[in-house]
């Protein structure tokens, strides 16, 4: 069974991967955005976004989606970071998974943008990668893991 990092630990993945030939992905399976939008019964399915697919079409459905995967075909294409933030800002609370070819050195940024699950192309480094989740423990910006920017949290403003 494939494995991934979820909420800071390595676990087995219980989701069925995407199958582009299927016309009706079922509960427990991940659908492409196109498949997913065409599904009559969306219950229990997950949906995967590619870099060119903005998340806005999902906004009306966010409360009923259990898994959104944002795929990174190349780690340098950073659109997914903004997609994740927009999904969280619009109230998505389900699993938000990074998939594909991101690298462990991006884990802190991904987590801060609202990802809580990380499925890496190369599973062999998953345990070692956990360490990168906490490369930083202090941040300047507000983000999903820290709702207030540092300037609102500094102990005492200078008088």
């Amino acid at each position: 069974m494939p494995r991934l990092i979820k909420d800071g630990a390595v676990i087995d993945d219980r989701w069925q991967p995407i199958d582009l030939d299927s016309d009706a992905p079922r509960a427990g399976q991940i659908a492409s955005l196109e498949q997913w939008l065409n599904l009559a019964d969306k219950a229990g399915t997950g949906v995967q976004l590619e870099p060119a697919e903005e998340p806005d079409t999902l906004f009306p459905h966010l409360h009923e989606i259990a898994l959104i995967v944002i795929n990174f075909p190349v780690f340098t294409d950073g659109r997914g970071f903004s997609y994740a933030r927009r999904l969280r800002e619009h109230g998505y609370r389900g699993e938000l998974r990074a998939g594909g070819h991101f690298i462990r050195d991006q884990l802190t940024y991904l987590r801060r943008c609202g990802f809580d699950a990380f499925q890496m192309a190369d599973e062999s480094g998953l345990e070692a990668a956990l360490a990168s989740l906490s490369d930083f423990t202090e941040f300047y910006q507000a983000a999903e893991d820290q709702p207030l920017p540092l300037f609102r949290r500094r102990a005492e403003p200078t008088s």
Partner: protein, 554 residues
């Protein structure tokens, strides 16, 4: 200047630890070249022709003497004993060893410095007016805003993998000394009809292969919204900027493709979810940032008396007098002057400074200028607050160290990129051209007679030497494997920004001093009294220059 608290220090220290681990993994073969590339770039490390190049951030060009001494020490221990001031106010080392870069970064962190995001496709060091806080034409000090932007952009989780690099500049004065029209985002502090100071926002300016002048997308923005508005712009760019072609990936291309109105609309749309959120600046945050840039403890000086004494000293020693005239500027405090330390003496690469010179400038800053030093995008250093009575001893020390060439703002104050001597992207060398021009025009009286003149040289169309916005720009080009130089005229980085026009076919390196000579004598012939080179060019256009230059060449 800004002083780190425990939060800033922790973030910088954790960054050093992160990069140390990444370097170890890279050297152990656990990170591929491709994966390591953006990691090292975002820590300032390029791999170049001769050796790696490390670009150290100087946030908005401000340093203290302790930092300068540390830089001197680093160049001695880890490099060849000199550093280079870049056109974006940063400091570059040309010869560090990859394995030692984490140690260099750790050294920097001890004096509140770093190399974060000095290259790579992320938000770069924010630049500003080198005379911020002391210039007479300033509406409001831009540095607190730069510092707020520095903190916001440092390790921003959403914008570390943009389509391309992203540069922000802030200006708070009548004259624009920060080239805000030529940045991805330019911010100008200005008052609205009610007299309240806010920000004008320009977007999509830039140099490189497609030079562009920024377009206004917001006439006046309440300061408290600065960060959320920036975030909205960055988000539109991150989502829609081109990623298929790195030469079309800058925000200027996106703004042009969408049209500025559609771009503004997209930003407003994105901003509607961010506006008034937690990233909205508070009065306390603005006040805290401002408090670091309070005026230093100026002495109360009798201005007219100090000026009279200085005038007398200038008369007694005309060489000193000339330096005062050329390399110092009036200050907003009575009895003080702003001093530019020239890094443009013939025979030395523009912007290069040795470890000994760094230490000397640190010492002089402590003695005469409250221990602070500024770097300029013209690749010089500035001591911002020197009492008039101290100018003479200061000048003597600078003069002895080769740092008092009286040419600031004149022809030989050349801006020049490292070019083919160091840079692997170069089409041609740039430093020898700069040197040949400086050597040819060694007659200072002629140079002064030419008036204010900006001559900028880049070794390729990436335009690190800002050739498009020099009054005279020189660009290295490759002609069937040979190094040639194209000349453009009429660029300007001022508020009346313009991009230089190409004169015609390019020239060989040996011809360049003659070509420049012809251009300058054409100007001298055509100028009306008191008219600057740029004004003459704007009046007569490029043709007279073209005729004279090519008539002689053929």
């Amino acid at each position: 200047m800004y002083i780190y608290d425990q939060y800033d220090q922790k973030i910088i220290d954790q960054r050093v630890a992160q990069f140390r681990d990444q370097t170890v993994r890279f050297l152990a073969g656990q990170i591929s070249e491709t994966e390591f590339l953006p990691l090292r770039l975002q820590n300032g490390l390029y791999l170049q022709r001769q050796a790696p190049m490390l670009r150290i951030a100087v946030p908005y060009g401000l340093m203290n003497s302790t930092q300068l001494r540390k830089l001197a020490e680093i160049t001695r221990v880890y490099d060849k004993g000199y550093a280079h001031i870049s056109t974006r106010q940063n400091v570059q080392l040309n010869w560090p060893a990859l394995e030692e870069v984490p140690d260099i970064l750790a050294e920097l962190a001890t004096v509140q410095m770093h190399a974060i995001q000095t290259s790579g496709n992320c938000v770069r060091n924010t630049t500003t007016d080198q005379f911020a806080g002391v210039a007479c034409d300033e509406l409001e000090d831009p540095r607190p805003y730069c510092e707020i932007i520095r903190q916001w952009s440092t390790l921003h989780p959403e914008f570390a993998f943009l389509p391309r690099k992203f540069k922000i500049a802030v200006c708070g004065s009548t004259e624009d000394r920060a080239a805000i029209h030529h940045h991805d985002i330019g911010l100008e502090l200005l008052a609205n009809a009610q007299g309240e100071i806010g920000l004008k926002v320009l977007v999509g300016g830039g140099l490189g292969r497609t030079p562009a002048i920024g377009s206004v997308i917001c006439d006046w923005l309440d300061k408290r919204h600065m960060l959320t508005y920036l975030e909205a712009i960055l988000r539109v760019y991150n989502k829609h900027g081109r990623r298929d072609n790195k030469f079309k990936a800058r925000i200027k291309i996106l703004v042009r493709a969408m049209g500025v109105d559609a771009f503004r609309e997209a930003v407003e749309q994105e901003w509607s979810t961010l506006k008034d959120g937690p990233t909205t600046l508070t009065d306390e945050a603005l006040e805290r940032a401002r408090s670091f840039f309070d005026a230093p403890d100026y002495a109360v000086i009798d201005g007219p008396a100090a000026t009279a004494e200085l005038d007398a000293a200038c008369e007694r020693d005309p060489i000193f007098g000339n330096w005062v005239k050329r390399n110092t500027l009036s200050h907003r405090m009575a009895g003080y002057r702003i001093v530019t330390v020239s890094l443009k003496s013939t025979g030395y690469a523009p912007g290069d400074i040795t470890a000994e010179q760094l230490e000397l400038v640190a010492e002089l800053a402590d003695l005469y200028s409250f221990g602070e030093i500024r770097s300029t995008h013209e690749q010089n250093l500035v001591l911002g607050d020197v009492p008039m009575a101290q100018l003479y001893p200061l000048w003597q020390r600078l003069q002895a160290a080769g740092l008092a060439t009286p040419n600031i703002g004149y022809l030989t104050d050349i801006i020049c990129c490292p070019g083919g001597d160091y840079c692997s992207l170069a089409n041609a060398k740039s430093l020898p051209v700069a040197e040949a021009i400086q050597a040819r025009f060694d007659d200072l009286d002629y140079v002064y007679d030419l008036g204010p003149l900006e001559l900028n040289i880049s070794g390729c169309m990436n335009a690190c030497g800002h050739h498009h916005i020099g009054h005279i720009g020189i660009l290295g080009v490759d002609k069937k494997g040979e190094e040639y130089y194209q000349v453009c005229l009429g660029g300007s980085q001022s508020k009346e920004a313009s991009i230089g026009k190409i004169l015609g076919p390019s020239f060989k390196q040996e011809a360049m001093p003659d070509v420049i000579d012809t251009i300058l004598s054409t100007y001298v012939t055509l100028r009306q009294e008191e008219e600057s080179f740029l004004d003459t060019y704007r009046r007569v256009g490029i043709d007279p220059f073209k005729e004279r230059v090519y008539a002689q060449a053929h």
